[in-house]
């Protein structure tokens, strides 16, 4: 692409204030947090005594943080998997010229217009063990004993209390994934599908051999978007369950908030947020790398 030198200079000038603010308030404070995480700042007054990796050692030794990492892993896994599979299924239904498409599309997308806080309060009532879904089941004669988000059972490290949170989160984001997939499906040329049909390919063969490869980049983008939602999750868990009995529904975000702003452990809080940054970076950096590589 041809860019005259003068235009570049102008662009830099115009962008400079924004870039300066960005670097100061985003990257500057990331570096500041990193520095704080190596100090002994555990009170209201800053104490910049260097303690090396001490805060990280405390963190990884704490039962709460270990549970948090497990919860984040399982929550992310199920949240992404269910959203992608369910979202694809829904979008394929709409794509196959289902009746009442625009009506259904609105219904699917609607939860996304709520904030996680609203969703959390709503589903908290639904899953409350004595008054919600359970009492409905009891009314029609089931012996509903499942504690939902208060359950302390765990299957191979997976806290079953997370199921309630996963349902609430997928309820909100499945429609969004559907919309992404639908856009992708609409972009597939009809001739391609038709010629496959003429060649005698069945519906599943078309999905597997034609549709899925074409929408692969969309699946990838959806995973990234959902992944960064779930890795940073705070508001949903805060509004719906809190940290839960024995941290069954705790996440690093909640831990960071309580450690820093309730316990005044600024250094440990900074260490938790750096760990969260690393978790997100592990997902985002390869994505950015692939995106930029694709553009060259």
């Amino acid at each position: 692409m041809y860019c005259p030198k003068k235009d570049v200079r102008l662009a830099v000038m115009i962008l400079f204030p924004l870039l300066a603010l960005l670097f100061l308030f985003i990257y500057g404070f990331i570096i500041w947090s990193l520095r704080v995480s190596f100090t002994d700042w555990n009170g209201i007054l800053p104490n910049m005594t260097w303690v090396g990796l001490n805060n990280y050692k405390l963190l990884f030794a704490s039962q709460r943080f270990q549970t948090d990492l497990r919860n984040t892993f399982f929550f992310t896994l199920f949240f992404i998997a269910i959203c992608i599979i369910g979202g694809f299924f829904l979008s394929y239904l709409l794509y196959s010229k289902l009746k009442g498409e625009s009506f259904l599309r609105t219904i699917y997308l609607f939860p996304l217009s709520l904030s996680f806080v609203v969703t959390g309060v709503l589903w908290r009532w639904i899953f409350s063990p004595e008054v919600g879904l359970n009492s409905l089941l009891r009314m029609i004669g089931f012996k509903a004993e499942f504690g939902w988000f208060t359950s302390t059972h765990s299957i191979g490290g997976f806290n079953v209390a997370l199921i309630a949170l996963i349902i609430a989160a997928t309820w909100q984001y499945m429609g969004y994934t559907m919309a992404m997939f639908l856009a992708g499906l609409r972009g597939i040329p009809d001739q391609l599908i038709e010629s496959a049909q003429i060649d005698g390919a069945g519906e599943f063969a078309i999905i597997r051999k034609i549709i899925l490869p074409i929408i692969k980049p969309i699946t990838f983008s959806a995973m990234i978007v959902l992944g960064h939602v779930s890795l940073k999750i705070f508001d949903l868990a805060y509004a719906m369950t809190g940290k839960g009995p024995a941290f069954v529904t705790d996440f690093p975000g909640l831990f960071m908030f309580e450690t820093t702003f309730r316990g005044n452990h600024y250094a440990e809080g900074a260490a938790i947020s750096i760990m969260m940054l690393i978790l997100v970076a592990v997902v985002i950096v390869p994505y950015l790398y692939l995106t930029f590589k694709g553009e060259d």
């Binding site: 102008l10 009170g43 209201i44 504690g147 024995a246 450690t259």
Partner: protein, 423 residues
């Protein structure tokens, strides 16, 4: 081209100067005003604050009151906002804080506060407060905050209907508690309502159970770090707590503390140990004392009063220092306390409150406050610092679930080693 370059520079310069201008032109509060910072946003608390503000306005009509509240139960959000303002050198004039270590270990030790002993001394009020209370609000011989009200933590709320139905006596000791609880359990009724959706409610219960086993002196020493958690009586407290969990409602982890108190008045559970704001809740819901609910000191703690208190302090560099001093004097006065407390549903921290203004429960609480041994509450920031409390709440969250006394004991000891005052 040159022209557009110049325009860009101009735009940039104007934009940045505006940023700085904004910072410099931060609105200064009016010269004769008083900003009161609290988390009293709803119900009796907000009304109580308003009642006290009304008294203040009448006395000092020239001073404008700025009521700065931050919503959120137990003040967790307000505390975060306060920390930001204090660290940024922009303290509110007067701010609400739990009396005791929450104030002292966070703000006094960090040298953000001015002592207010002189307000009590100048008015001759030092002996109007119980000595135990003065002890709780003092650091190195100076008083650092004025307690406006007092709540009691170790209260057992019970359902007279259920006790009558099974012909049981209200338990006075932990042993009696477990006997009574067995009867309720056999009849399929949760003996102890608990709502520990927020883990401080579990800590709240624990402090009463520990006090029941240790008595007031050892209880105080435990929070000073001078008694080991392996002490037989402290240990017994922990194992009693673990044992009590077998008698709780199944859905305790999903309930808020008020829901659990409600279970008792609705006859869904027999007993609940919660602070005496529950009485205010019962009155407001129209439940009748004596038929729907009644109270006793929590089992084994008769003669002891676990107190917590909201207080106001004097921040260094408060913009309107003279007005704060006027406000604090009102907070400490009989007039101010009797305006605030009947509405808020708490008792005055002075011993000479006007009895006719308070309801039946509060009058009984005032009797106990004047005669009992007074010890500070752990769960509400009077006995220990916030970092220590945060850690204890975390331990309780696991302990309530796994009921492993040995493990909890080790973790409590480790927390004590790290956070207890060193001297």
């Amino acid at each position: 081209m040159r022209k557009s370059f110049l325009i860009a520079v101009l735009v940039f310069l104007t934009a940045t100067t505006m940023v700085f201008a904004q910072g410099a032109a931060e609105p200064k509060p009016k010269s004769n005003s008083l900003e009161i910072f609290s988390w009293w946003t709803a119900g009796g608390e907000a009304d109580g604050l308003q009642a006290m503000v009304d008294v203040f306005n009448k006395k000092y009509p020239g001073i404008e009151i700025i009521n700065a509240t931050v919503a959120g139960g137990a003040g967790t959000n307000a505390k975060a906002v306060l920390a930001t303002r204090m660290q940024g050198g922009n303290p509110p004039d007067a701010f609400q804080v739990h009396a005791g270590h929450e104030l002292i270990d966070t703000w006094v030790v960090a040298d953000f506060m001015e002592p207010v002993t002189f307000i009590l001394e100048d008015n001759g009020w030092m002996d109007k407060f119980p000595a135990d209370v003065i002890d709780i609000i003092s650091y190195k011989g100076e008083v650092y905050s004025i307690p406006v009200n007092v709540h009691r933590s170790n209260v057992m709320w019970y359902s007279p209907k259920l006790f009558k139905k099974y012909n049981l006596a209200v338990p006075n000791t932990m042993d009696e508690f477990f006997k009574v609880a067995d009867v309720f359990k056999a009849n399929g009724i949760p003996a102890l309502a608990l709502g520990d959706n927020e883990s401080w409610a579990a800590t709240h219960l624990l402090e009463s159970v520990i006090l029941a086993n240790t008595g007031p002196d050892k209880y105080r020493a435990l929070w000073d770090g001078k008694v080991s958690w392996n002490d037989p009586q402290v240990r017994k407290g922990l194992s009693d707590y673990a044992k009590m969990m077998a008698y709780t409602n199944r859905d305790h982890a999903a309930l808020a503390n008020m829901d659990a108190a409600g279970y008792v008045a609705e006859g869904k559970a027999a007993m609940n140990i919660m602070g005496d704001w529950a009485a205010g809740y019962y009155y407001s819901q129209g439940f009748k004392q004596g038929t729907d609910w009644d109270w006793a000191p929590s089992p084994g703690t008769k003669g002891n009063f676990i107190m917590l208190s909201d207080s106001f302090g004097l921040a260094k560099n408060a913009p309107n220092r003279d007005n704060v001093i006027k406000w604090l004097a009102l907070c400490a006065s009989k007039e101010g306390q009797d305006a605030f407390n009947p509405v808020k549903g708490s008792i005055p921290s002075r011993i000479d409150g006007d009895r006719s203004k308070y309801d039946a429960y509060l009058n009984a609480a005032m009797d106990d406050f004047a005669s009992n041994a007074i010890v500070p509450s752990v769960a509400h920031g009077a006995a220990i610092s916030e970092p220590w409390l945060t850690r204890i709440n975390d331990i309780m969250s696991v302990f309530t679930t796994d009921l492993n006394v040995d493990k909890a004991m080790r973790e409590f000891q480790a927390a004590s080693d790290r956070y207890a005052p060193k001297n």
